[in-house]
């Protein structure tokens, strides 16, 4: 991507927006297989703290990552608006537990900037870019460290 291109010719990609502890995050929609209401999640003993447990998703057993805990917030019982985003990566299917999931949006590449020092907190380690749309700040997530087995990625 170069800066002297006009917006009309830059790539526009679809993203899925969801919120965790009041912040809006986005994942490229081609990484998300589908979204689900939160059903029963079975806790897995001795798994990492950010693992909510395992759940059935369309006949498969998937591990569920609690994004609140992953980003360093307090664990909360999933509310009625909570959603499970089933993401797929390297033949793995993983559920991401978000407080709510809102919509699809298309974001042009040139609107996404690398994260700067203003992005603080644990989630900063998982953010690959920041987009500003209609006065809204959207943090674009990088999935690889998110589903890594390390408890958290040191900055």
């Amino acid at each position: 991507m170069s800066t002297n291109e006009t917006p009309a010719t830059t790539n526009v990609r679809p993203y899925i927006l969801f919120s965790v502890a009041g912040t809006t995050y986005a994942l490229p929609s081609d990484q998300v297989r589908h979204m689900e209401m939160v059903g029963q999640i079975t806790a897995v003993p001795n798994a990492a703290p950010f693992i909510e447990g395992v759940a059935f998703s369309r006949g498969r057993v998937v591990p569920v990552v609690n994004l609140r805990v992953r980003f360093g917030f307090e664990r909360e019982a999933p509310g009625i608006r909570a959603r499970l985003l089933i993401v797929e990566m390297n033949n793995r299917q993983i559920g991401l537990l978000a407080d709510s999931a809102r919509e699809f949006v298309s974001i042009a590449d040139h609107l996404i900037h690398p994260p700067n020092d203003a992005i603080r907190g644990l989630s900063g380690n998982y953010v690959s870019g920041v987009a500003t749309m209609d006065e809204r700040i959207i943090l674009i997530l990088n999935m690889t460290p998110l589903v890594d087995t390390n408890p958290d990625v040191a900055a």
Binding site: G39, Q40, T42, A43, V44, P45, N46, A47, A48, I51, V54, A55, F56, G59, R60, V61, V62, P63, V65, R92, I94, V147, T149
Partner: protein, 648 residues
């Protein structure tokens, strides 16, 4: 598509196909060895070998595996010279073909596993040296013969303990001893009866029905497992006269299927099993609203769905089954090489080669069986002189027997060699500082001792059998497959190792256990026994806990503690006993609520790769329940358990 991708898409087919050609080549090489002392050149065999290596050369060239291509080329041209009588098939030539076949296989395996490709210089140099030599010597005949044997029908014996029986002194132990005194216990599994009690199911052989009938008053019932459902000893024609057309599988009506697709199919069937269970649960809830006549029809329908589902499941499972000969056919090679190196004479008998077993299990049983066979050659069978002195034939016999018993497959490796001296092994173990219970070692304790890491009855480790680390690996791998290993041996009387494995792993019977508010499933194949204990009977020894069970200290672990689960103290707990003899460990749970058929879903994502959890299942109500890996959970403790016992 660029070149590497293009090749990558072929590699799966290449490995499968090269495996087939190598298997054919191995078979033909054995026949060739047998035919070497004949006056006539066994043209048919040479032709068949030529074709195998020719194909291997061709497909290796296609995937650009140059080392394999070059080796196959040398072998092909060597065989061509023999066929055209430009070269004579001498023992050194034959040996070169055998070792080149082994290297060829290593090359292909290395490529598949992304390892460094082994050097092919040595076999190439050998070909240079020997192909063209021209003297023919006598060679002993092939060491492999195949026979068929009848095996007795197994009997399913059920013992249901009651308070009355206990008062009369008839306990599970009594029955176990009675059975093992007369016959052979293949398998024991605790069962939860309909009224919530506990019964024990033994699968036995060699016990007369009249004897069993006479124990009816002692809570014993039995049924003979009929042919078909039961043992299937299978005949294998003896290839005493090499007729390649008989021994190589023809291009029959076979379809090569990717195992992953079969896994998918099994998963769909598993989903169906769960849906049906849900349907039945829901139906039970509406029974009172439905007119009786309609209700009966509904019931009939769900029952026939259940039956059909069982058939479907069995059908899919059967597709995954492959003959155990996939393991066995390698063994004549191994035995031949080892016997020659050790200066021993060994006959190999293969029984029940067409016994079928899940493809997944075949792949994982290869190494354990290989190890047992190596042990039999290098430790079991004596030298010809020693055998003659002991009044035996100079050539020893190793038997590989496979059979199906109910839902289990039995693989036996036995030899008629020197056997093991339990007394000598016990002495050695005690000298080495191991704490053993006083008195004679029973066969289970003997197995425990020989499976201890680093324990070997031989002072010098030889290349074939390693340093005694092997047996523990053998037993662990069998246990990981929900199987069990036992041994029967005596000084001078040979040794028999017996592995009992489930036919398939995808659907299995499990005990449902509870700790606090959590529920877990424990595959029954891992469970030796279940019991109820008084909490006050649990004694703490340093950091470990144990109970006295059947007069023996039994180390126990609390599942609640291992898994950090909150649960109120209870006066009584259920204990699940895993492992036997010195390796037995009890897992304490709040209660066992029943037994069910579960559909195993693996849990292999690194995020939830936790010791003691092997998978997950659904119990029909939509709830996901974790499956305990009871063996893995207790592994560390089992390795320490003799030390804990000694501390009592």
């Amino acid at each position: 598509m660029d070149q590497p991708d293009f090749i990558a898409s072929f590699m799966g087919d290449y490995y499968a196909e090269s495996e087939e050609h190598l298997a054919t080549a191995r078979q033909q090489l054995l026949l060739l060895e047998a035919a070497m002392h004949d006056d006539e050149l066994p043209t048919a065999i040479v032709d068949e070998l030529f074709r195998s290596f020719h194909s291997l050369k061709g497909i290796s060239a296609m995937v650009e595996l140059r080392e394999a291509e070059q080796l196959a080329h040398e072998m092909e041209s060597c065989l061509a010279r023999i066929r055209e009588r430009r070269s004579v098939l001498t023992p050194p030539v034959f040996e070169t073909l055998v070792s080149a076949t082994n290297v060829l296989e290593q090359v292909i395996v290395a490529r598949r596993e992304g390892a460094a490709i082994p050097s092919i210089d040595q076999p190439l140099a050998q070909f240079n040296a020997v192909c063209g030599a021209s003297s023919r010597q006598d060679q002993p005949p092939a060491t492999s013969t195949v026979r068929t044997h009848a095996v007795p029908l197994p009997i399913r014996v059920t013992f249901t303990p009651t308070a009355d029986l206990v008062a009369r002194g008839v306990k599970i132990d009594t029955i176990r001893t009675r059975l093992s005194d007369i016959g052979h216990i293949e398998r024991v599994a605790p069962q939860v009866t309909k009224d919530g009690g506990i019964a024990f199911e033994f699968l036995v052989t060699g016990i007369p029905e009249d004897t069993l009938r006479s124990w009816r008053d002692d809570g014993v019932t039995f049924e003979v497992i009929e042919e078909g459902a039961g043992l299937r000893p299978v005949d294998m024609p003896a290839p005493s006269h090499p007729r390649p057309t008989d021994t190589t599988p023809g291009p029959a009506n076979y379809v090569r299927v990717d195992l992953g697709r079969l896994d998918d199919l099994m998963r769909f069937v598993g989903d169906l099993v769960v849906s049906r269970a849900r349907l039945e649960d829901t139906l039970l809830g509406v029974e009172s609203y439905v007119p009786a006549a309609i209700w009966r029809t509904l019931e009939e329908h769900t029952e026939s769905i259940e039956r059909q589902l069982r058939d479907l499941r069995e059908g899919v499972m059967r597709v995954r089954l492959v003959p155990v000969s996939e393991i066995f056919r390698r063994m004549p090679f191994v035995v031949r090489d080892l016997a020659r190196d050790a200066g021993k004479q060994v006959r190999l008998e293969l029984v029940g080669q067409s016994t079928e077993i899940d493809k997944f299990l075949i792949e994982r049983m290869m190494d354990p069986v290989l190890h047992l066979v190596r042990n039999a050659v290098s430790h079991g069978i004596e030298s010809p002189e020693e055998r003659v002195t002991a009044g035996k034939r100079p050539d020893g016999t190793i038997r590989l027997v496979a059979s199906t018993i109910g839902e289990s497959v039995v693989i036996e490796v036995s030899d008629d060699g020197r056997g093991m001296d339990a007394g000598a092994i016990a002495r050695r173990a005690r000298d080495a500082g191991l704490d053993l219970p006083p008195g004679e070692l029973d066969s289970q304790a003997l197995l425990d001792v020989i499976c201890l890491s680093g324990f070997s009855t031989r002072d010098e480790a030889d290349r074939a059998s390693g340093r005694g680390i092997g047996m523990s690996v053998v037993r662990d791998s069998i246990q990981e497959l929900s199987g069990s290993l036992s041994v029967v041996t005596g000084p001078g009387a040979g040794t028999t190792f017996r592995a009992v494995l489930p036919l398939t792993l995808a659907i299995t019977d499990a005990l449902i256990v509870h700790v606090g508010s959590r529920t877990f499933a424990v595959p029954q194949s891992a469970v030796q026994e279940v019991a109820e204990i008084d909490c006050a009977a649990v004694r703490a020894i340093e950091h470990n806990e144990l109970v006295v069970h059947r007069g023996m200290p039994l180390p126990v672990v609390r599942l609640a503690r291992l898994f950090g689960i909150d649960t109120p103290e209870r006066p009584r707990l259920h204990v699940i006993i895993v492992g036997t003899g010195l390796g037995a460990v009890g897992i304490l749970v709040d209660r066992i609520s029943g037994q069910r058929e579960i559909v195993v879903k693996t849990l292999d994502d690194p995020l939830v790769n936790v010791t003691g959890i092997s998978g997950a299942t659904e119990l029909g109500d939509g709830r996901l329940v974790l499956i305990l890996d009871a063996i893995g959970l207790t592994r560390t403790l089992r390795h320490r358990s003799s030390v804990i016992r000694a501390a009592v």
